[in-house]
């Protein structure tokens, strides 16, 4: 029950930077733990570096190789090989997020065709749990980063706004797991949610004012008071990879 493998024991941290993308396949997995010192100049993340422990990195690297079939990079198609993902209604959105450059590097845009291990880790690090040692400011940034990731997922046309159309899309996908639900219901839910968002973010609007979409600032507003940092994390519970993925 409590077998969670939990990062924060300080001694176990790898250094506070991302590991460089491991070199040729085989050795990197084991060396990942040691090669951490090399700073990655390119990825100036707003994230504080992921406190993923070395054996977690090792594990993730093994997994990465498994997914990429021993290639250096992962392409979208590689994600098709994960059987459990198939039933996920928003799988395409999630997979998309892995290749979204906004999530990978700060000042770039567009979609990557393939990602390397470093990018893979970067994405994973959005899901790390909070640490007790974080101070207020770090927490705030941490929260922002997580929300940004989420926001990017909704904002599929990258204009910095979640428009009604985008929102509807997400909701439709979300509810697609229930075969009994009609599309119209999903749409009206999205509409309702959008109105709610508008009323939260803007409050009373002028008669000719138009709510064009949820900006990131609005998004932050909507999340006020909700502990995203305690929700949006994955417990690195069982480090054994699920054996048969292919």
């Amino acid at each position: 029950m409590f077998a969670a493998l939990h990062g924060p024991a300080p001694g176990r941290f790898c250094s506070r930077v991302l590991p460089r993308a491991p070199g040729a396949g085989g050795s990197a997995g084991t060396s990942a733990g040691t090669s951490m010192g090399t700073s990655t100049g390119t990825s100036t993340l707003s994230l504080c570096p992921p406190p993923v422990t070395s054996d977690q990195i090792e594990h993730l690297h093994r997994r990465f190789k498994q997914l990429s079939r021993d290639q250096l990079t992962i392409r979208k198609e590689n994600f098709d090989s994960i059987p459990d993902l198939e039933f996920n209604p928003i799988r395409s959105k999630i997979v998309h997020a892995f290749f979204d450059k906004r999530n990978l590097r700060q000042e770039s845009d567009g979609l990557a065709d393939e990602i390397d291990f470093e990018d893979f880790l970067t994405i994973m690090s959005y899901f790390r749990p909070i640490e007790t040692s974080m101070d207020e400011e770090q927490l705030e940034r941490f929260r922002r980063d997580k929300l940004k990731f989420l926001f990017h997922m909704y904002d599929s046309d990258r204009d910095g706004k979640i428009t009604l159309h985008e929102y509807r899309n997400v909701v439709e996908e979300l509810l697609s797991g229930n075969p009994h639900l009609e599309k119209e219901a999903a749409r009206s839910i999205a509409d309702g949610a959008m109105m709610e968002a508008a009323s939260i973010c803007v409050g009373q609007m002028g008669p000719d004012q138009v709510y064009e979409g949820i900006t990131f600032e609005d998004f932050l507003k909507m999340w006020q008071g909700i502990d995203i940092e305690t929700k949006m994390h994955v417990r690195f519970l069982n480090m054994e990879p699920i054996g048969h993925c292919y």
């Binding site: 996920n88 979300l174 009206s188 309702g192 994955v234």
Partner: protein, 792 residues
């Protein structure tokens, strides 16, 4: 006398012999043989038992009313403490009159009749996600914590006893351990009673409360083991016996859980087929759950666990299956039973204490017990939390630990267990009983009294009561999927992975077996929230109309434009007397009150159903009361025309939706608003179950306002006016103003006024609704827009 025979499922009460009987039937009525046929005879003995039981219940309930007359008292003193004091008082009176302490809380009555409703209520309304999310911590506290408390308390008492401070007692190590085991367990009834008033944050609450529920298995096992050890004598206790004890723990706890799950399955299955016996539908919930309790008891498994898990597991399916009315019935009945049982328990704890026969005072023993249970509770909590915090995502802070330690209330379970002890086997039973009473009183009264200030002083995070938000739900759902996907991708089995797999399994198999087909369809949490919010809006809207004395704005204009006027205000002359005008000028106060109403609604969510039904039935469509006076035991005469209701609902929503494009609530009467809020809150306190007919803020200023600033218009209430009305008199109502703000607004989401947030109809089936969301030009749209269905 044995436990009272019955009183239905409701409240089998207490064992009661003759005190009252002796006193009141001391008159010679029964003694003399009637010479002839008596037209009226006084048969006290005939009805004595149920009569006294009912009287006691009445007294307890009346006491509750009295307590709540004064807010100052109930805010400071927990009800449980008040009830105990009242019990002491009443017990004192009875004893003073008769010198017989005959009303006691007997274990039989307690375990068979009083405890199950409380635990069932806890299980049935358990926040499952929270519970299972914290299950690990709860189990640790419940199992290890309780064993720790029992062992340390028992051993320490024994240690002190050996030093001789307590004087001579006819007592051995096993007796101490037995006592330790029964005094160790945190009591669900007491915890619930006190914590419900404190409102600590939900994680903290679920941990303490979950612990108190789940530790029952440990308590039962420890109690049984030590009791049998005491019975067979210390010299016969071998390693094998101890091993048996440990095995029996697993059997009792897992067995109890399985029994609960089995009956939950059964209950869900049965509730799938109750469509034609709606009236007894709620009964099944109680009967089958109670059966699970009794079955577990029969198999000497943990009955509390059984009924808890029965409630936890069945809630999803049962709530989906049974009708809305039945669901309300279940909710109320359950709360009533639980709250009634709780009241009686605490009162009789007080009454039971007034009995000189059970009192054996031993200062050292009693004081030390108090000290030990408090100290070891703290130590146990700190130690376990220290371990847990290595694994928990959300750390339990020091403050939480303080509250957890302090919240370790002991209660009626301990008392009932100690009362069960056999005087012949446990020589110092009376000492145990009196100590238990003292401990219970101390924890419930003293700690219950001080925990609120403590929580405030420590600034413990409290629960916020939030309206469910659609966005929140949607994001929550998205989260679940994202997290499970991340676990899938990173290739590990975690919490989310398990939850995801479980919900898949549930959707594919369990729900198919256990839910009605119709329920499967509509059973989606997001949909539910959406529906709920929609309903809420509609109710506020309708209630508002009702309050104003006219529902004209809902009615169709085609029937009568001029009839549905609001009679509460004098008609302005001439042109202005049209409906729309009358209604429009009320836009200001109406909207204000909407907010006020919403505020109030939080407390009266439960009246929703009633209110809608009431309103819908009374005011809408056609009078259809006439044929409803038939009596039937098996059917509550139901409006056959639910369809009609639905249609009305849809129509209303649609109309209001329409208004979004153009509505703006022009004024911001924040001051007035506050006033209204205040008043409403005050009113809420007094009669929270009825929507008070709040006074309408004086109309004149608004009227003036509306007259002055003609540009402001609230088509919420005028959208349904026929074209003719528009044509007659409204230069400012031209379609450009009211209907189409801008092309963009129709592509994008329209801005929304403050109060109507989610007015999209449940299903956007009618093109008319979508029309403003899609980009059709203004010319496509008829001027006064009326969907066909609004014409009757």
């Amino acid at each position: 006398m044995g436990p009272a025979p019955c009183l239905g499922l409701l409240l089998g009460l207490l064992a009661l012999p003759a005190t009252l009987g002796q006193r009141s039937s001391g008159s010679p009525i029964n003694s003399s043989q009637p010479q002839s046929f008596a037209i009226v005879s006084f048969k006290w003995n005939h009805v004595k038992d149920p009569y006294i039981i009912t009287l006691w219940i009445l007294v307890a309930s009346l006491a509750k009313i009295v307590f709540h007359l004064s807010h100052k008292v109930t805010r400071v003193v927990p009800e449980s403490a008040l009830l105990i004091v009242l019990g002491l008082f009443l017990g004192g009176i009875v004893w003073a009159a008769d010198h017989i302490a005959s009303f006691t809380l007997t274990p039989n009555v307690f375990f068979f009749y009083l405890l199950p409703p409380i635990v069932l209520d806890a299980g049935y309304f358990m926040p499952n996600r929270l519970f299972f999310g914290n299950l690990g911590s709860i189990l640790l506290y419940a199992v290890i914590g309780t064993v720790w408390n029992a062992a340390t308390t028992g051993l320490s008492l024994y240690g002190v006893y050996l030093t001789g401070i307590m004087g001579h007692l006819d007592i051995g190590l096993l007796d101490f351990l037995l006592f330790g085991s029964l005094i160790a367990a945190v009591d669900p009834v007491a915890v619930l009673a006190v914590f419900e008033e404190v409102h600590v944050n939900e994680v903290l609450f679920i941990i303490v409360f979950g612990e108190s529920l789940l530790n029952d298995a440990v308590t039962v096992v420890l109690y049984n083991v030590f009791e049998s050890f005491v019975a067979i004598g210390p010299e016969n206790v071998t390693g094998i016996e101890c091993a048996k004890g440990i095995v029996s723990f697993f059997v009792v706890s897992l067995g109890g859980t399985l029994v609960g799950i089995f009956f939950a399955f059964l209950l869900s299955l049965v509730s799938r087929f109750t469509k034609h016996v709606r009236i007894i539908e709620p009964g099944f919930v109680f009967i089958i759950s109670y059966l699970s309790y009794l079955t577990a008891e029969m198999l000497s498994l943990s009955a509390i666990l059984a009924i808890t898990f029965c409630g936890i597991c069945c809630q999803k399916y049962v709530k989906a299956n049974i009708s809305e009315q039945s669901s309300t019935t279940v909710r109320y009945t359950m709360k009533m039973l639980a709250s009634g049982a709780e009241t009686i328990i605490f009162m009789f704890l007080g009454i039971s204490a007034v009995n000189p026969e059970i009192w054996t005072w031993n200062t050292a023993f009693i004081l030390l017990t108090l000290v030990f249970i408090s100290v070891y509770r703290v130590i146990g909590v700190v130690l376990q939390t220290w371990i847990l915090n290595h694994y928990r995502m959300v750390q339990l802070e020091i403050i939480d630990q303080v509250v957890m330690s302090y919240g370790g209330l002991r209660g009626a379970v301990a008392f009932a267990l100690v009362a069960l002890l056999d005087m012949n086997k446990v020589k110092e039973r009376n000492l145990f009983v009196s100590t238990t009473i003292i401990v219970v009183f101390f924890t419930v009264i003293f700690q219950g009294l001080t925990i609120k200030p403590l929580v405030q002083w420590l600034k413990v995070k409290k629960t916020e009561h939030r309206e469910p938000k659609l966005n929140e739900k949607l994001h929550g759902r998205a989260f679940d999927h994202i997290l499970s996907a991340i676990e899938d991708i990173s290739g590990q089995i975690g919490h989310n992975y398990l939850r995801d797999k479980w919900s898949n399994f549930d959707r594919k198999f369990l729900s198919k077996i256990l839910m009605r087909r119709s329920a499967q369809k509509s059973r989606d949490q997001i949909l539910n929230v959406f529906h709920e919010l929609n309903l809420k809006d509609a109710i506020t809207y309708v209630a508002e109309g009702e309050r104003r004395g006219s529902l004209a704005f809902i009615r169709s204009p085609s029937t009568d434009n001029m009839v549905n006027v609001d009679f509460s205000t004098p008609r302005p002359s001439t042109v202005e007397s049209s409906v729309s005008y009358l209604l429009r000028e009320k836009a200001g106060p109406v909207c204000l009150d909407m907010q006020a109403l919403e505020q109030r609604r939080k407390s009266i969510r439960d009246t929703e159903d009633t209110v809608t039904h009431h309103t819908l039935q009374q005011y809408l469509y056609k009078p259809r009361q006439e044929h409803k006076h038939l009596y039937s035991r098996h059917e509550i005469m139901h409006n056959e025309d639910e369809k009609q209701d639905k249609e009305i609902f849809h129509r209303t929503m649609r109309k209001r939706l329409e208004s979004f494009k153009s509505t703006k609530l022009g004024i911001n009467h924040s001051k007035k608003l506050n006033k209204i809020h205040k008043r409403d809150r005050g009113q809420k306190r007094r009669n929270s179950s009825v929507i008070p007919n709040g006074k309408i803020p004086s109309e004149n200023p608004v009227q003036d306002f509306a007259l002055k600033e003609k540009g402001i218009d609230n088509p919420v209430f005028s959208a349904d006016d026929g074209q003719s009305v528009y044509m007659k008199f409204s230069p400012w109502l031209s379609s450009e103003d009211t209907v189409v703000p801008s092309q963009r607004a129709r592509v994008q989401i329209p801005y929304s006024p403050n109060n109507f947030r989610r007015l999209t109809p449940f299903r956007l089936s009618n093109k008319s609704i979508d029309s403003f969301l899609q980009a059709d030009g203004p010319e496509d749209r008829p001027r006064s827009f009326l969907p066909e269905s609004t014409h009757m």
